[in-house]
Symmetry: C2
């Protein structure tokens, strides 16, 4: 049993664990690339962050009765009111969160942090909160980037952050059915480790994998790198247990059901508004015999997208489909280490060969396609994909780049802190749309971002990759960056809003897998229509008439901050 002192958290001011950071010194092409594209000299020393001791953290608003009943609920060792605990539980890791933490902008922090060890304790915590007319915000790994964890600055009631970090066990594996019961607070590595000991895998690997929890994935409708094979968390989740004011919601672990509108599905994406998820029954798979990710190159982004579409329409079933636009491809090449990885690309032999084939190397696009299963299955999928890639002018470049990508993918979020240290912001916005909408959506979004960069007077950068394929469409994942001025948040909002509004204008969605939170709430009615918002309000009000559960997240939209 984990004590709350052993629940690890990310840096209070940024992504990941203390002592780990992005380092550009072994990537010689990066500094000139960044200088040329956003005008930032990354070799210059960065701007200082505030020290934790210099933050002005408000005193906790914790009535003695509430504290006493919380201590009774989880034990006195697992109730915390110190500033570090409370600051760590204030925000997720959105760019807005990082910017505010760096300057100590903390208008409202949770008053108490509690660490229940099981569902019974969660029930007792919720009872205490309801009795005290307080507010409960469930907290998993704290990796959310949509503002789903943030207390409202106007909240006058005591706020309790419920950290699920002590509920981190795989409780049971039903090997016959391929399902496992897992506590909601278990983080990615803990899940894979516990399952792996018995030869199983969940197969869910979001970029946040090392710092996010099963409960958080469910609460935000997360997707992972291999979701093409294993499904999004919505497909993986077979049953839930959720502690609510009216009792504990318990659904049955059946593969499919016709019991009216699905309450299991309503919990997916509920971001704490429908209670505390304590346990999830998930599909698990035997660790596959083979697993590999191959690299491919396409002459253009259009070719790459069309190849992914053709793969999705075919009988082939890869585990990963990913293709970067030319700008993201150039960025990937700029982050390669001196003498490893996609080194072969540098080789004049390959460049000469591609040029001879008539490729314009500046529009070339890098793709990764993954395969998992028996050797026979993997070989058949590779063969089917190879022929589709060839038909679209692409060519395979082997295992090296894919292996490197696979090892490094969880390090990507560290780059934001690296750039913030040096005076630039970088962030992501992702969406999904039908195949026929992807190119217009892409062009519209790149143009909209460009116009926003012009309005704020910066040299901006935007790049994109397709990250997941479905029968009827795909996820486009944009990353943008620029050297910010004095009011970084206002500048950021200008770009972020332009990108998100472009999604709305081109029949895409406000987010494919990062949730609504408060960051995307202003686009909710455009996305799901007014009557859709009414439906959400209805189910939230039925479960939580007193608005004690993470109020303000998803709906309603509050005036933008900044």
């Amino acid at each position: 049993m984990t004590g709350s002192e052993n629940v690890s958290h990310m840096k209070w001011w940024g992504w990941g664990v203390e002592g780990v950071a992005f380092d550009h010194r072994d990537k010689p092409a990066l500094a000139p690339f960044v200088l040329a594209n956003v005008g930032l000299d990354i070799d210059r020393p960065g701007r200082p962050r505030k020290d934790f001791a210099d933050l002005a953290v408000q005193d906790p608003l914790a009535p003695p009765d509430l504290l006493t009943s919380l201590q009774k609920a989880v034990g006195p060792d697992h109730v915390h009111v110190d500033a570090m605990q409370r600051v760590v539980h204030t925000y997720g890791k959105s760019l807005r969160d990082l910017l505010r933490l760096r300057v100590g902008d903390l208008p409202r922090v949770p008053d108490v942090v509690v660490y229940p060890v099981d569902e019974q304790e969660v029930v007792a915590v919720l009872d205490a909160i309801l009795a005290a007319d307080a507010v409960l915000i469930p907290f998993g790994g704290g990796s959310n980037i949509a503002g789903s964890l943030e207390p409202s600055a106007q909240e006058a009631r005591p706020i309790v952050s419920l950290d699920t970090g002590r509920m981190n066990s795989v409780l049971d594996i039903d090997e016959q059915s391929g399902v496992a019961r897992i506590q909601a607070g278990a983080q990615g590595p803990a899940i894979e480790e516990q399952l792996g000991l018995r030869g199983w895998t969940l197969g869910h690997f979001p970029d946040s994998f090392t710092h996010s929890t099963l409960g958080g994935w469910v609460a935000t409708r997360s997707s992972g790198m291999q979701s093409d094979k294993y499904g999004d968390i919505a497909d993986i989740t077979r049953a839930v247990r959720v502690v609510q004011p009216g009792g504990t919601l318990v659904t049955r672990p059946v593969p499919s059901t016709s019991t009216g509108p699905s309450v299991r599905e309503m919990v997916l994406g509920s971001e704490g508004r429908l209670g505390v998820i304590t346990e999830v029954t998930v599909q698990v798979h035997r660790i596959p015999q083979e697993r590999l990710i191959l690299g491919y190159l396409f002459p253009t982004w259009e070719d790459g997208l069309e190849a992914m579409r053709a793969i999705s329409e075919s009988d082939a079933a890869p585990s990963v489909t990913r293709v970067s636009d030319a700008r993201e491809t150039a960025f990937s090449f700029a982050t390669r280490k001196q003498s490893r990885g996609v080194q072969s690309l540098k080789s004049s032999a390959l460049r000469k060969m591609l040029t001879r084939k008539g490729w314009d190397l500046s529009s070339m696009c890098l793709s990764f396609i993954g395969y998992e299963g028996s050797s026979t299955h993997v070989a058949a999928q590779r063969k089917a994909v190879r022929s589709i890639v060839k038909k679209h002018g692409g060519l395979g470049i082997g295992r090296g780049p894919g292996e490197l990508y696979d090892q490094k993918k969880f390090d990507t979020p560290y780059i934001r802190d690296f750039l913030l240290d040096r005076g630039a912001v970088a962030d992501v916005s992702e969406t999904s749309a039908a195949w026929s909408e992807l190119l217009p959506l892409y062009r519209h979004t790149v143009r909209a971002a460009g116009q926003a960069f012009d309005r704020i007077g910066v040299q901006g950068w935007i790049m994109c990759h397709l990250s997941h394929s479905y029968h009827s469409g795909a996820c486009l994942y944009f990353t943008f960056a620029f050297k910010h001025g004095a009011d970084a948040i206002a500048q950021y909002d200008e770009v972020k809003v332009a990108v998100q509004q472009s999604f709305m204008d081109r029949m895409a969605t406000l987010s494919h897998h990062h949730a609504v939170g408060i960051e995307h709430a202003r686009w909710l009615a455009q996305d799901i229509s007014g009557p859709g918002v009414v439906m959400l309000e209805g189910v939230f009000a039925a479960v939580d008439p007193g608005q004690h559960l993470n109020p303000g997240t998803i709906v309603p939209w509050r005036e933008p901050r900044g």
Copy 2:
């Protein structure tokens, strides 16, 4: 544009079209089989049904203002108050419905039947209904067997049945994205015909296919025979348009999204409680190069189930997985025609061979497994399945039985009327559960049905097949029959309740794909827990505070009738 006079309906008293009926005279083994197993002589003339003219149909409760505004909404030709229209729209085709129609048990029939031609007319109909404080029940093909269409006998407000039969067009196919926009009133054959002209298929083939609609499938979370490949309707549905009291719910046709609890998913299974579904965007597929269904035999039911489980765990991706228990296998053989189909099984050569292998022919189980796709894909799947089947003691018996099954599957529902004509009831209950629960569930249910047969003093029959496989479990589909006495409904309830309660007792669900209606509502809280029911009530109340939309369906449970 279809006039309402051209919207065809099933027989007012039974399944399917006038002039088509089940006929046992070319199936010589059936009469002795039925006599031996339920003590019924099917060669004896049946019991007479009431003539339509002899039914006592109440006068319509249709205030002139309501009639006028409905006529204005859809045109006077498309508003009907005659007895035949109203009786046809009173029930679905559950066994309880058929029993009541045969004796003219019609405590409450809809007062008016309207046929809007498009969404705008649906809006006008709903406005008229709200203004008159009336009730709206959407009606698709009328094939529902869960009581989802039935007006409450206590309903004092005027009741309007909204027949979607004139909204039957495929509006658009986005060939690049593999999605089509289809009007909700389109029935299976109309959809496949319109899509087929352009080389596409929906791939959704429930047993009710010939008489059910897209809107009905969505409203009940339907499954089809090839759902292992194409997905249940919940997977196929990409976007919905639903006319509600507060406006029209419109969701976006994106492949996956993270916009809070999914309102698209809430419409799935909503059975009219959340409004009138007018249009659905669905995934469509190019008609596959090859499509075949092969027959297999297993020595025992346990072997057959275990083989299906092994297939689901493997990399193989068949389009159909189905295996019957020994009793259903015996029934299949008893319904074969004199000189066709599974004829080879009769051949003493095969029987001798199986006996020599040590098979007990009375526990033998018939299985169908389907394959669709390119020739290469189909060949690879067949090969993978063959090796799994062999490992579980099974053997292939070729194409004949599968082709016969494929041709005849939509005729099965006619058998209930055939038996009712002769004094016996037959009905189905289906569920799903985790793989590890299937055998205990099966045994428990067969025993529970047997005890119920004993209590009502009949020689009863229950048989079962696995109809759909998933990663984590499967659908078990039970059929039961017995020769009924004077109070057929009370006897039926005894058996039906025993079977459904067995599902609850063994961690299965109240229905895999037949919906809740009023028939299964009493088990809803056991299935999704009390807090789950509260969530459903919340979303229904938010959309329809006046309870004008199919009230009483799904929740709350009314006292059992009969």
